[in-house]
């Protein structure tokens, strides 16, 4: 076995000591930490950049939308007022009580043996519904062989006629008195009665009879 003598062991020892130099190792560690910090800083900067972009985008959108929103609010208020006004007008126009069909019905059912001498009629809005409550008072004279029967038939005819169109129909005699006057019908003198009838109804549609 050949004898091997390391003449450089001192130099190698110094080299090893230098590579294990704590200051050098420490500086390398610090450099590593700094590099990590710098990398993390750029990562965070990117993240914050994304958020900032989103913020800037929203700011720009808001700057554009805010005046439009203010204008839209004014416009909406005006349109809502117009809409409300139109609806109120429509409600008033369409919610009126129409007298023409009532008068038509009266014309149709007054027989020739009955003469209406006075009629007063009024309609008022009902508090609990969009309909109107109406009252018509008739005063008149009825004649015929049995004038009371004629008056009664007229009262019933009023009730039946109006019940076909309206709700809550009631027809009641307020008075029914024999009269001393007689009338001549087809050359025949017939007795008369004077009557007063009150007809109450409302303009809600009639409910069909069951």
């Amino acid at each position: 076995m050949a004898l091997h003598i390391n003449l450089y062991h001192e130099i190698q020892k110094q080299e090893r000591q230098r590579s294990r130099d704590p200051l050098r190792l420490g500086m390398m560690g610090i450099l590593g930490v700094i590099l990590l910090c710098v990398a993390y800083y750029f990562y965070r900067q990117h993240e914050v950049g994304v958020v900032s972009d989103q913020d800037a985008q929203l700011q720009a959108e808001w700057a554009k939308l805010q005046p439009q929103q203010d204008k839209a609010k004014d416009q909406q208020a005006k349109l809502a007022d117009d809409l409300k006004l139109r609806d109120s007008f429509n409600q008033r126009i369409e919610g009126r009580f129409y007298w023409a069909p009532v008068m038509q019905s009266i014309i149709e059912i007054v027989p020739r043996e009955v003469q209406i001498t006075h009629m007063s009629a009024a309609a008022a809005p009902m508090s609990d519904s969009p309909h109107h409550s109406s009252t018509i008072q008739f005063a008149g004279v009825a004649t015929g062989a049995q004038p009371r029967t004629t008056a009664e038939a007229f009262r019933n005819a009023l009730r039946e006629k109006f019940a076909k169109t309206f709700s809550g129909v009631t027809s009641t005699f307020k008075s029914l008195d024999d009269s001393s006057q007689s009338v001549s019908v087809s050359g025949q003198a017939l007795p008369t009665v004077s009557f007063s009838i009150e007809l109450d109804f409302n303009d809600a549609p009639a409910t069909p009879a069951k």
């Binding site: 294990r20 130099d21 910090c37 993390y40 900032s52 939308l65 007008f89 409600q91 009126r96 014309i107």
Partner: protein
């Protein structure tokens, strides 16, 4: 390996430098980023609902604007039914003309009173009495029907009809009517 005093000093110095660098890094660099991010997040949280509300507002207004022409047209139609000027000056002649066209020549129209209409700001209701001393019931019915059709802002509140004493064919009628006019 044994550390020399000189080495220990260098290590301590390096540690101090590292601590200072880390402090500056975290407080100034990262801290600045964090505060910037927190500010941006706060702005976003603040703006997002506002932007959403604004978009909803614009959509709602656009929805209403689609109906606006119809609403305006209807309101124009209704408003054009009310002549300009004092109602006492235009309503009685207007009614007299109307009644004449219906074949009712004798009439007198009087203003009875007025009332406010809460649901129609800028308008009021006037109550008139129309006295028709000679009218037959059928003509009256036709006239009332025409009135209800031709004057949508007018409604008959009540009526009274009395048979004529000497002429049963000619009744005396009194109508109480309401009409909507400008305030």
């Amino acid at each position: 390996m044994k550390l020399q005093k000189d080495d220990i000093q260098k290590i301590v110095l390096a540690g101090i430098i590292l601590a200072i660098v880390l402090y500056v890094y975290s407080s100034m660099m990262l801290g600045s980023l964090d505060s910037h991010e927190a500010g941006a997040n706060h702005d976003i949280a603040d703006l997002q609902p506002k932007v959403l509300a604004a978009k909803k507002q614009l959509a709602a207004t656009r929805g209403l604007e689609q109906d606006a022409p119809k609403v305006s047209e209807r309101l124009y139609e209704i408003k054009s039914l009310i002549p300009d000027g004092a109602p006492i000056a235009w309503f009685p002649p207007q009614m007299k003309d109307f009644l004449n066209r219906q074949g009712i020549e004798k009439s007198s129209i009087k203003l009875n009173g007025e009332s406010a209409v809460p649901d129609l700001p800028g308008y009021k209701v006037l109550n008139w009495t129309i006295d028709l001393p000679q009218v037959d019931f059928v003509s009256l019915g036709i006239a009332v029907s025409a009135l209800e059709n031709q004057f949508p802002l007018t409604n008959v509140a009540s009526m009274q009809v009395d048979a004529g004493a000497d002429n049963p064919g000619a009744q005396h009628a009194v109508l109480s009517i309401n009409t909507i006019v400008n305030q």
